[in-house]
């Protein structure tokens, strides 16, 4: 019992010493500066180039206008090209089938009429 109490006391003291040592070591180190945002070494060159090339400058400014993004969004949200294509294909196929059916019906009626006439003529003879 006494031995285990001694052991626990020693371990507690060791832990305390370790904590104090690590805290003092951390305090001794200089405070880390927050990481700086990356700054391109080409920035000045680009700005100089943009100042010289007015067309490029205007193009870049144009692409940043909100109207450009609105137009792109409208292309997705109000795009009706595929809907028109799908419904056109659907109606062409369906109406085509109905027309073919109607033509087949007419051909049948014509054939029936011809047959009736032939039979009637043969019966008369």
């Amino acid at each position: 019992m006494a031995r285990s109490t001694t052991m626990m006391t020693i371990l507690g003291c060791a832990a305390l010493l370790l904590a104090v040592a690590s805290t003092s070591a951390a305090l001794a180190q200089p405070a880390k500066e927050p990481p700086r945002a990356y700054q391109s070494p080409m920035r000045k060159d680009c700005e100089a180039e943009l100042a010289k090339d007015k067309g490029w400058n205007a193009e870049l400014r144009d692409s940043l206008r909100p109207e450009v993004h609105e137009a792109e969004a409208a292309l997705v949200t109000r795009n009706n090209k595929h809907v028109v294509m799908a419904y056109a294909a659907l109606w062409i196929l369906t109406v085509g089938f109905v027309v073919l059916l109607w033509m087949r019906q007419r051909r049948l009626l014509a054939e029936l009429e011809t047959l009736e006439k032939k039979v009637a003529k043969a019966a008369e003879q």
Partner: protein
């Protein structure tokens, strides 16, 4: 079909097409992902249901014909087979356009797309065998129709069995509000239109068969040359 009943059904269909298009384009909410392109969905899915209905009709009546050899069953099977080809073509073409809008590609060898194509090709095979197979081709074609019918569960559940680009089967039951009304009214309308076309085409098939029988009798009797 009685003329009045036919006219009534035709009027219902004409009004129905106008009504369902109104519901799909003006009443159904705009989809948050595909926006306006989602409007393809209402007729695409309805036609897919009609493809299944026509194939099942063709398969069931072919089976009946194979067992009982009643020509009236065969007439219905032939009519339904042709309609399955029509609805299948509509489904594949509108689906391909949908794919271009949603996935930016006209076709993908996805499980649902591939099984649907195989089902349609089987029904095209059925019609071709009927058209050019000669005497007895209706029995061979009947077997094809039964095979196509057995394939339908595979087409329907393909999105659950395999990983696919195609939306799941839970999309249609999960629709709400205006989308739900547009969807189910389209299905009902295409159902009426399918029955109307089936009846018309069956009448034509029956008339064709009777005309051929009459011609044979007249030839046998020496009434015609």
């Amino acid at each position: 079909m009685k003329k009045n009943a036919f006219l009534a059904a035709a009027v219902v269909c004409a009004l129905g097409f106008a009504g369902t298009l109104y519901l799909a384009f003006y009443r159904a909410e705009l989809d948050g992902l595909l926006f306006f392109n989602q409007k393809i969905f209402y007729y695409h899915v309805a036609n897919a249901f009609m493809l299944f209905a026509a194939t099942i009709t063709c398969g069931v009546y072919s089976l009946l014909y194979l067992r009982k050899r009643q020509p009236r069953h065969d007439d219905i099977a032939l009519a339904a087979g042709e309609l399955a080809v029509l609805f299948g073509a509509v489904v594949l073409i509108t689906g391909s356009i949908w794919g271009k809008a949603a996935w930016d590609k006209w076709w993908d060898w996805d499980a649902r797309l591939t099984t649907s194509l195989l089902l349609w090709l089987t029904m095209v095979g059925y019609v071709l065998v009927r058209q050019y197979g000669g005497a007895g081709s209706e029995r061979m074609a009947g077997g094809l129709a039964v095979f196509a019918t057995v394939n339908i569960p595979l087409v329907y559940f393909s999105v659950s069995i395999w990983r696919t680009l195609h939306p799941q089967t839970s999309v249609v039951p999960g629709l709400q509000g205006g989308m739900r009304a547009a969807m189910w009214s389209s299905v009902a309308l295409w159902g009426i239109f399918y029955v109307l076309l089936l009846r018309l085409r069956t009448d034509a098939a029956r008339a064709e068969r009777r005309l051929a029988e009459l011609r044979e009798r007249a030839l046998d009797a020496g009434l015609i040359e």
